[in-house]
């Protein structure tokens, strides 16, 4: 029997991911480790657009920021339940993406990229101007982290480690959902659009509607990440909606590898680690990142994941030859 794709793919990457979630706080400060997984959600959401649907959005910070400010304002003024804040942030990210997507999706290539970028700048200046609500350049301070009240127990997520667990959980669930999406029939239609949009339309798919759907889904997950970010630092800095953040999301995804589902996560780990750890010792850290980026683009177009793939092709495996796929047949 032919299966389209295995349900959640091979188990190995999920196990590795679990291990990474457990050991990361030992390798860096808890805050930094928490930030890694927030950006991992962003990178996965972005890769739904770039890697799967073939849309290079240079305005992901718009949705990240929309989520961050929505959750921040709700938490400060209404003291809502953290899960309500997350849901509202996802909704806000999705709604903003629906508006931006509606206006951008019909343009392709460079025009699409520039439009998403332009809307990002607009969103930034709106937040900048509305300083009585958003705090303007100074950011929105005083975002609380109320306990997660479930029916029988209240989980205090104020301690750093508890919040790390909370974010890990949200990240893991997001990754599961996104993986299900890309492996579903819907995910295959997204890939068909990336591969050949005209042919997908000739099959009867309303490709604009599908691209909008990908855009809104990506926006919703980005908004969710925004809420987690504001709660992490207790403030929503205006950088969350600044275009540089959009660029960073693109960079970390590319460097991790757009050709696989898990690649962007590696990119997020590397980028945040570099930004938060190395930057303390050496303020010109973007130089390292730039060099690595250039190196990857020149030699490993598939990102870190491709380094792994090539290593695996060269390294001998038990029971098989060095070149299992190309060697002469044994019979």
């Amino acid at each position: 029997m032919v299966r389209l794709r295995p349900r959640l793919g091979p188990l190995t990457p999920w196990v590795l991911l679990g291990v990474a979630l457990l050991v990361l706080p030992d390798l860096m400060r808890t805050t930094v480790a928490t930030e890694v997984w927030i950006f991992a959600i962003l990178a996965l959401a972005f890769n739904l657009l770039l890697g799967y649907t073939g849309l290079l959005s240079f305005g992901q910070a718009t949705f990240f920021g929309a989520g961050a400010y929505t959750a921040g304002l709700l938490l400060i003024h209404q003291r809502v339940h953290p899960l309500v804040a997350l849901a509202a942030a996802a909704l806000a990210g999705g709604l903003v993406a629906a508006v931006v997507g509606y206006l951008c999706i019909r343009r392709v290539g460079l025009y699409f990229i520039m439009l998403t970028f332009a809307f990002n700048l607009m969103a930034y200046f709106i937040v900048y101007q509305a300083s009585s609500i958003t705090g303007g350049v100074d950011g929105l301070p005083g975002v609380p982290r109320p306990p997660v009240n479930l029916y029988f127990v209240a989980w205090d997520i104020r301690p750093g480690v508890a919040y790390y667990l909370f974010v890990s959980l949200i990240f893991f669930l997001s990754a599961l959902v996104l993986k299900r999406v890309v492996d579903s029939p819907l995910g295959l239609v997204f890939q068909a659009i990336r591969e050949n949009e005209a042919r997908a339309a000739a099959l009867g798919y309303n490709t604009w509607a599908f691209k909008r759907l990908a855009f809104v889904s990506s926006g919703a997950f980005s908004g969710l990440a925004g809420a987690l970010y504001g709660m992490l630092f207790g403030i929503v800095p205006i950088d969350t909606i600044y275009w540089v953040t959009s660029g960073n999301i693109v960079f970390m995804t590319l460097i991790g590898g757009t050709g696989s589902f898990f690649g962007p996560i590696i990119g997020a780990i590397f980028f945040i680690w570099l930004a938060e750890t190395v930057s303390v010792r050496w303020e010109r850290w973007p130089l390292i990142f730039g060099l690595v980026f250039v190196f990857v683009i020149f030699f490993f177009r598939g990102g870190f994941v491709e380094v792994w793939r090539r290593l695996r092709a060269v390294l001998p495996k038990s029971g098989r030859g060095v070149w299992p796929d190309y060697g002469p047949s044994k019979d």
Partner: protein
């Protein structure tokens, strides 16, 4: 009732009239071929029928419904399936996935989140196996489409159109760039398909056209200059002039 009808269909690109007042009727159950020298406007006519190109004037009717204003995907949903002259596949997806996308489009072309019943998904899968067996690509099902030989890619091109189970199957030069051996294979396939599909065919290889089609329309400089059964077209003086030049 004609399955497809065009009325004075005209497509102009600037000063060039690629399709000039073409009125055409495709009867259900027939193989209808369109022939003509290079640049006669055959592919443009195809594109105007499928919606890839907006006609300058004229109308297109499918099952007596005016579809002139519909988009490409809406026409595909009505049952117009086509293959392309220049191979137009999903290169990084497998052969199976390529055809699966076509078969799935018949079940759920909308992007609205709605669950497709398991049974219908199984039906889609059966359809893919059926089509792959029919064109002879079963053994390639799990190869990336880009890895196929040109001949197999042409077969895949037809298989994708078949996956749609179209009411009208439009084949744009299915034998383009094929070796004599591969051409024979494609010909056999088209003969098999002729029993079950209404086919509109663009083809350059005249002997193939004469063999498989019931009606032939001849285009020259965007106009229909002759139409009729193969024997009649063979002896038509206007056709000979278009192909061989004025004597």
């Amino acid at each position: 009732m004609a399955l497809l009808r065009t009325e004075d269909l005209t497509v102009r690109f600037g000063a060039l009239t690629a399709v000039d007042r073409v009125t055409l009727e495709i009867e259900p159950g027939t193989v209808h071929a369109i022939i003509g020298p290079n640049g006669a406007g055959k592919t443009t006519l195809f594109n105007a029928i499928t919606g890839e190109v907006r006609p300058t004037s004229g109308r297109v009717f499918f099952l007596d419904r005016d579809i002139t204003g519909l988009t490409v995907y809406q026409r595909a949903q009505l049952g117009i399936g086509r293959s392309f002259q220049r191979t137009n596949i999903f290169p990084n997806l497998t052969v199976f996935e390529n055809v699966w996308l076509a078969a799935f489009a018949r079940v759920r072309p909308s992007s609205l989140p709605r669950r497709v019943p398991r049974q219908r998904l199984a039906g889609v899968k059966d359809r893919v196996h059926e089509v792959l067996a029919e064109v002879g690509l079963t053994h390639r099902a799990h190869h990336r489409a880009a890895e196929l030989s040109h001949g197999d890619q042409r077969l895949l091109e037809v298989a994708i159109a078949l996956g749609l189970s179209p009411k009208l199957l439009m084949l744009d030069e299915p034998t383009a760039g094929l070796s004599p051996e591969e051409t024979r294979r494609m010909m056999e396939l088209i003969k098999q398909l002729a029993a079950r599909y209404t086919i509109l065919l663009i083809e350059h290889k005249i002997y193939l056209v004469m063999e498989v089609s019931q009606i032939i329309s001849v285009m020259h400089f965007g106009r229909l200059i002759a139409q009729g059964p193969p024997e009649q077209i063979r002896t038509d003086p206007a056709v000979q002039e278009a192909y061989l030049g004025r004597r």
